[in-house]
């Protein structure tokens, strides 16, 4: 049974890239376009991993991660932050919010795939 990955991403191109990449690699991909939906879909579908954009409409990635991590049912799902805030302190902020991994945008699909496999192996 293939692993399920939730991609929370508001940019359609990025959703498409991640979807194509991960589906092609044999994962099941579900998508959310904002933070609030991301939390809801995570609760609904119990993914094995979440790729979380940070700059999101409605609720940003930090807040969405905090909500997921405060939900005992979702707490154990690893969250990898994917952010274009490639600045000092971003990674620390992401980890403080509860993210287990961190990838800077613009990302390389190969790096994403390697990271995902690292978490799900």
């Amino acid at each position: 049974m293939s692993k399920r990955i939730l991609v929370v991403e508001d940019t359609e191109n990025n959703r498409r890239i991640l979807n194509d990449l991960l589906t092609n690699a044999g994962f099941e991909v579900i998508e959310a376009t904002d933070g609030e939906k991301g939390v809801a879909i995570a609760a609904e579908h119990q993914p094995d991993l979440i790729l979380m954009d940070i700059q999101l409409p409605v609720v940003d990635g930090y807040e969405a991660t905090r909500r997921i991590k405060s939900n005992p049912a979702l707490r154990n799902i690893p969250v990898i932050a994917v952010t274009s805030y490639a600045l000092s302190g971003d990674e620390a902020k992401a980890r403080a919010a509860g993210c287990e991994g961190y990838i800077a945008k613009p990302f390389s699909p190969r790096v994403i795939l390697a990271k995902v496999r690292e978490f799900l192996s």
């Binding site: 990025n14 890239i17 990674e91």
Partner: protein
């Protein structure tokens, strides 16, 4: 008071100055008198001595002559008696005996009488005890006979029988039994002719016969017959050479004064002498008296000399002390000298000089005091102006500056209160901007009043010596009510506008001196500067704030733009990678090559965007480090991994030398990685053949990461410039090699933000070495913009 002390102590010391005037006077005076008295005494002693000696010698000579005459008479008398006896024409021997016996009775000195016949045979000898007739003794060979033949009388040299001096007198006679009468004379009685009754008590006299033997002596105890021929006077007399000595020796060896005389026919010498000490007694008396008088004279001279010298020196000392007092600036000292002589005249001149000096000094002091006051005044004015100038230049608190100006203006113009007004051009009203010594009530009255600008009277300083005579002056009644009666108003004006007014007011009525008005105008000028400064500062501050906001906007814009640019870039790079990886099916080689170009350009664009964002953050001071523990080894590994592909493509070998025992660093790992990546990336980019070596070591708390390449090198003139923004050695290379020209600039600033630095050593044609030096334990430094 110090001068007074000197006055007491100085004279005491100076009396005994070895070369002092006093000593010189005394020595000269006393010396002169001693010289005169001494010469006088010596001359007197000399003359007295000579005179006394002369008199004594004369007296003694007279005595000697007299004694000699007496002795001669004595002998002559005996000769006469003998002659008388022998001339008597005695015809018989009995008659002769009678004559001889008579002669013996008459002349006690005759001891014996002998009659010799013509052949020297004794015919008769008579003495006081016996008479011998015709003894026939032969005297023909005796000197009494041989010497006396042919003479009328012959006296034999004196001779001695034991100690008794004797002589013979031989006298020829005619008649019956013609022959010679030889009388033996005892000369002892001669001493009676020399005794003290004849020559005086103080003298001794003696008679020297042949061979220097003593014939008679005034002192009966002397043994007659002793030879005195060795006494110098006797020897001289006997030799009859030159003047007989005045002094000689007596038989006891004492020095004596000598006079001598010759007994003519007998060649006896009479000496009269007295002891030298006795003889010179009068000389000594005279000498003593003279010495006494001289001593008295010297004593008197010393007393008189001392007195005169003091009379002379005391006024001079007084002059000297006076001069010393003048020297010590004690002009009040006056010299007191007994009047009447030249020195007192001199003292008077001196005193007058001191008076004039005192007056001049007082006048000078007054002048100095005046000048000092004036100087102090201008100094305090300068200080006030300087203080205000400094306040104007340094303080932007206009209110405080204006308050300072008012306070100083009031103080320096000796006014009682003051105020400064600003002119509000829009409302055409003066507003109180600062006050000094004005009561709050009065200030309120000023604030509530509306002081309008009167063009007619404004522009020049307005001085009102008596406010009561200026009924139209604004606030006149309020000012008068507050107790001020004179007022000085100086406008604060620039070339084209009025800024306000500076006012000082006094309780008293009176003119304001022109100096005060000038000073106030200076203050007004300073006030204008202060107001202008304040206005300009406000403008600058406003501009600064606007600039800061604009800068903030710029940074924000860059940040936003960076994000907005990255989002589509993510799609471009992501899709091209998926395409390359064949996710959407196999593409023809030509398409793959284009895709590769798209990816390269996309990554370049991303680098540009990142650099621009970094530099804008650095410039805005927004770059902050994320400090945590890191491993240099892992940074080097990351950098080597990231550049491996490029190095491989270019055929450049990348070597590393990282010791295994490096300490764990503390810093911003991601930024340090960025720095090393930039430098190693550059090294590989600019090196066409050879290698790039990364060497790390840690010393003294610093990591040194050296990146050495075998590239073309950087000219010395460009070595500093490469760290500047947007600089590459050759802009042609930029196009060829890519890059924004911001990398080294950003790298250096990142390292400096860690408290480190990047150094460059490069030789053209050999290669370049970049040394990254960062503290092992970094702390974030103030932003180096």
């Amino acid at each position: 008071m110090a001068g007074h002390g000197a006055e007491l102590s100085l004279p005491r010391r100076s009396w005994f100055r070895p070369r002092g005037l006093f000593g010189k006077y005394v020595i000269a005076f006393v010396g002169l008198i001693v010289l005169v008295l001494g010469t006088n005494a010596a001359l007197e002693a000399w003359f007295t001595y000579n005179y006394t000696i002369g008199v004594l010698v004369k007296t003694q000579s007279d005595k000697a002559e007299a004694a000699a005459r007496r002795i001669q008479q004595f002998v002559d008398e005996i000769e006469r008696q003998i002659s008388f006896a022998t001339r008597a024409s005695a015809s018989t021997i009995e008659q002769h005996i009678a004559d001889y016996q008579l002669l013996l009775r008459e002349v006690p000195a005759i001891e014996q009488l002998r009659q010799l016949n013509g052949k020297g045979m004794e015919q008769l000898m008579v003495n006081r005890s016996e008479v011998v007739k015709n003894s026939g003794a032969d005297y023909s060979r005796s000197p009494s006979f041989t010497e006396a033949r042919g003479r009328s009388v012959w006296a034999s040299p004196a001779d001695f029988e034991g100690s008794a001096p004797v002589m013979s007198i031989v006298m020829p006679h005619s008649g019956l039994n013609a022959g010679y009468t030889v009388a033996q004379i005892n000369l002892e009685s001669l001493s009676t002719l020399l005794d003290s009754s004849q020559i005086g008590n103080d003298y001794e006299a003696y008679l020297i016969g042949p061979l220097g033997r003593l014939l008679a002596h005034s002192n009966r105890e002397r043994r007659l017959g002793t030879s005195l021929g060795e006494l110098p006077q006797v020897r001289a007399a006997m030799k009859q050479e030159g003047e007989p000595p005045t002094f000689g020796l007596d038989p006891d060896g004492r020095s004596v004064l000598i006079a001598s005389a010759v007994v003519p026919h007998l060649t006896w010498h009479v000496f009269v002498e007295q002891p030298r000490s006795t003889a010179l007694q009068p000389v000594y008396r005279v000498l003593n008296r003279t010495a006494l008088l001289a001593a008295l004279g010297v004593l008197l001279a010393i007393i008189a000399g001392t007195w005169l010298a003091r009379q002379m020196v005391i006024p001079i000392r007084a002059l000297q002390v006076g001069a010393q007092q003048l020297e010590a600036s004690e002009f009040g000292h006056r010299i007191e000298v007994r009047p009447g002589d030249e020195i007192s005249d001199l003292a008077d001149h001196f005193n007058r000089m001191a008076e004039q000096l005192q007056e001049s000094y007082t006048r000078l002091e007054q002048k100095v005091e005046e000048r000092t006051r004036a100087l102090a005044k201008s100094v305090s004015e300068f200080k006030a102006l300087e203080e205000i100038g400094r306040a104007v230049a340094s303080s932007l608190d206009t209110k405080a500056v204006l308050a300072t100006i008012v306070t100083r203006a009031v103080q320096l113009t000796r006014a009682d209160a003051g105020a400064i007004y600003r002119y509000d051009a829009s409302r055409k009203l003066f507003e109180l901007a600062g006050a000094h010594a004005l009561e709050q009530g009065f200030q309120d009255a000023i604030r509530s009043a509306r002081i309008r600008f009167d063009e007619n009277i404004f522009g020049q300083p307005i001085a009102l010596p008596d406010l009561r005579e200026s009924p139209n002056f604004p606030l006149r009644d309020a000012i008068l009510a507050a107790g001020f009666h004179s007022i000085l108003v100086v406008p604060l004006i620039t070339q084209d506008e009025i800024l306000g007014a500076l006012v000082v007011q006094r309780r008293s009525v009176g003119d304001f001196p022109s100096g005060t008005i000038d000073l106030m105008q200076t203050f007004a000028h300073q006030s204008v500067l202060a107001l202008n400064n304040a206005r300009m500062f406000l403008e600058v501050e406003q501009k600064g704030r606007e600039l800061a906001i604009a800068n903030e906007h710029k940074t924000q814009f860059f940040a936003n733009m960076s994000h907005e640019l990255r989002t589509p870039l993510n799609g471009i790079l992501g899709f091209s990678e998926l395409l390359t990886d064949g996710l959407y099916g196999k593409l023809p080689d030509k398409a793959m090559e284009v895709l590769d170009r798209i990816q390269k350009d996309g990554k370049h664009l991303l680098g540009l965007i990142n650099d621009v964002l970094d530099i804008s953050k650095i410039e805005a001071g927004q770059l902050s480090l994320s400090l945590s523990d890191y491993s240099v080894q892992s940074i080097v590994d990351t950098v080597v991994a990231s550049t491996e592909a490029l190095a491989h493509t270019k055929g450049i070998e990348v070597r590393t030398a990282v010791p295994g025992d490096l300490p764990i660093g503390y810093g911003d790992e991601r930024r340090l990685t960025q720095v090393l990546l930039n430098i190693v990336g550059n090294a590989i980019k600019f090196t066409d053949t050879g290698s790039v070596e990364i060497r790390v070591d840690a010393t003294n708390g610093y990591f040194k990461i050296a990146v050495e390449d075998t590239g073309p090198g950087i000219p010395l003139s460009d070595q500093q410039r490469v760290f500047d923004d947007f600089q590459q050695v050759d802009s042609g290379i930029t196009r060829q090699k890519g890059g924004t020209g911001l990398g080294l600039s950003i790298s250096r600033r990142l390292v400096q933000a860690h408290g480190g630095n990047i150094e460059l050593h490069s030789w053209l044609g050999v290669g370049s070495t970049f040394n990254i030096v960062v503290p092992v334990r970094a702390s974030e430094q103030r932003q180096v913009a």
